[in-house]
């Protein structure tokens, strides 16, 4: 029953694979594993400040959605609500029809800081929360997928920032989540490591077929990874567009540049500021103005 629902959604979602050359050296996209996300009239306030009001959003199974916006616009809050780390003040969130549960295996969250336990070796960090006899074996496999099999016995303290995030990615993926939530996971990395990590995330997403929701303030990153880019602004989703680029995506293509520019212009558009009459200024200040 659940499966058929997913299948329908899978069929109805628009396919981003149009134009440009066919994907090469990319794993075939595995369908059917991802969870569907449905958000209806979701509101959240912190004290007096309204962060989200009546946000509605549907994400198809296996879709990669990027949330962009200025800092403090509420995109991270939206992600934390989906992760079940915060509770909304109104509306509802369904992950395959279930309410978000921070302890459920369905969704896994990757934080901006890797949040590895410094007192556990890399392998034990990846195996965190796993149970069963094959836990370490599975952790080893996940670590190999992110290319860090040889660092299993190291302490997190000796890894670089990029390596730590790769361990965090392995730790998230070892649970075979059907929804991966990424909260600016590459925000603190240098430009080259970011591009490398984006490639890794895209490859693993295609391989595993999970649904992905990425929060980022880097428009280029959103365009590189996502099927769909959403802009969170004024407590709502102000912009929702499919990325018209086939995978693998070439950063140098004109289509890429055009789309990135369009999103960027939209993000940068100033909200209408209330016009205030200029206050009467003292003479001393006026002289500076002339």
């Amino acid at each position: 029953m659940m499966m058929s629902e997913i299948d329908t959604l899978q069929l109805t979602r628009p396919l981003p694979f149009v134009g440009e050359a066919a994907p090469r050296e990319m794993p075939a996209r595995r369908p059917g594993h991802g969870a569907a996300v449905a958000i209806e009239a979701l509101s959240k306030r912190f004290g007096e400040r309204q962060v989200l009001s009546e946000v509605s959003l549907r994400i198809a199974p296996g879709e990669f959605v990027a949330l962009v916006g200025r800092s403090g616009c509420g995109k991270s809050t939206l992600l934390r609500l989906v992760a079940g780390l915060e509770r909304g003040d109104g509306g509802r969130i369904g992950i395959d029809g279930e309410a978000p549960d921070a302890t459920a295996d369905t969704a896994r969250l990757m934080f901006q800081d890797a949040r590895l336990l410094p007192w556990q070796r890399v392998l034990d960090n990846v195996a965190l929360g796993l149970s069963g006899a094959d836990a370490r074996e599975r952790a080893r496999e996940a670590l190999a997928q992110v290319g860090l099999a040889d660092r299993a016995r190291d302490w997190p303290a000796v890894l670089s920032g990029g390596q730590r995030q790769r361990v965090a990615l392995a730790r998230a993926l070892v649970h075979r989540p059907r929804l991966l939530l990424l909260d600016e996971p590459l925000g603190a990395l240098d430009a080259l490591t970011r591009i490398e990590m984006q490639g890794l995330i895209e490859r693993l997403w295609l391989e595993h077929g999970f649904t992905a929701l990425l929060v980022t303030h880097d428009v280029a990153e959103a365009v590189a990874l996502a099927d769909r880019v959403l802009l969170v602004e004024d407590q709502r989703i102000a912009f929702d567009e499919h990325v018209p680029l086939a995978r693998p995506r070439a950063r140098s293509s004109a289509a890429w540049a055009a789309f990135e520019d369009r999103v960027l212009q939209r993000v940068l558009r100033q909200p209408d500021l209330p016009v205030r009459a200029p206050a009467p200024q003292p003479l001393g200040r006026l002289r500076w103005a002339v």
Partner: protein, 258 residues
């Protein structure tokens, strides 16, 4: 080779020359043995008491007292620290009381302790236990409270809760602070034991020195003082080794594992 040996010996020059000067002035008769016995006399006293088995017995008795006090007081401090650190309700209920009691110096309790327990073993145990309780309590409480909230949130969202969360995240996070508490407690432990044994004892290093004082055996008195110093140092060395073993992951200790 010889240069590096000289380098290594350099910190010992000052203490060695002091001992040499001291020995010299005793032999020359400038220093009365009633004030300070010569180092050689201390060594022979140590040898004599070792042969008779007295030394081992008194050291064993004192160490047993110290460790018993540490186990009772430190154990209670650790437990209460974990309790108040973990549950807000326990903190509200207990913490301000404990903070008030903390400001009473343990030694101020001596007259009361003698009234309550007399001068036997219980009194010594009680004094040491009250002294070591607070460093462990305060540092455990602080350690639990300063565990990175981000790590706890991460662990919860990865399905950890209850005991597993405690064992894998909260306790290891609080451990550096708890071990600092332990080192403070070990220092205090010996101070309080010396006081307790000096007040009255029928065995132990304190008894040894007080007894020697009666007979003007300054060499034995000095031996007792040196024994306390060595035992205190030993406790510190053990605590450091414990820290190194438990905090291998910590950046400050990383050099030792590489």
């Amino acid at each position: 080779m010889t240069a590096s040996l000289m380098q290594r010996l350099r910190p010992w020059w000052v203490p060695l020359s002091i001992v040499a000067l001291w020995e010299l002035s005793s032999r020359a008769g400038w220093l009365s043995t009633r004030v300070l016995p010569e180092p050689w006399a201390v060594l022979t006293a140590c040898w004599r008491l070792t042969l008779s088995g007295e030394l081992a017995e008194h050291v064993a008795v004192s160490s047993a007292r110290a460790l018993a006090g540490l186990a009772v007081g430190g154990g209670l401090g650790l437990l209460l620290g974990l309790l108040t650190g973990t549950w807000r309700a326990a903190e509200t209920l207990l913490d301000s009381t404990l903070q008030m009691v903390r400001n009473i110096p343990a030694l101020a309790l001596v007259p009361l302790i003698i009234l309550w327990f007399g001068i036997d073993e219980t009194a010594k145990l009680f004094l040491v236990a009250t002294g070591v309780f607070f460093p462990l309590y305060l540092n455990t409480f602080h350690g639990i409270r300063s565990v990175d909230a981000g790590l706890v949130e991460m662990a919860r969202s990865y399905g950890l809760s209850g005991l597993a969360l405690y064992r894998q995240v909260i306790l290891p996070g609080a451990l550096p602070s708890i071990l600092v508490g332990l080192r403070f407690a070990l220092g205090l432990m010996w101070v309080l034991l010396i006081v307790a044994e000096t007040i009255s004892a029928r065995s132990g290093i304190g008894y040894l020195t007080m007894n020697a004082r009666e007979f003007l055996q300054t060499d034995v008195v000095l031996l007792g003082i040196i024994l306390y110093a060595l035992l205190g140092k030993l406790a510190d060395v053990i605590a450091r080794a414990l820290e190194r073993a438990a905090l291998r992951w910590h950046a400050g200790y990383q050099g030792a594992t590489a």
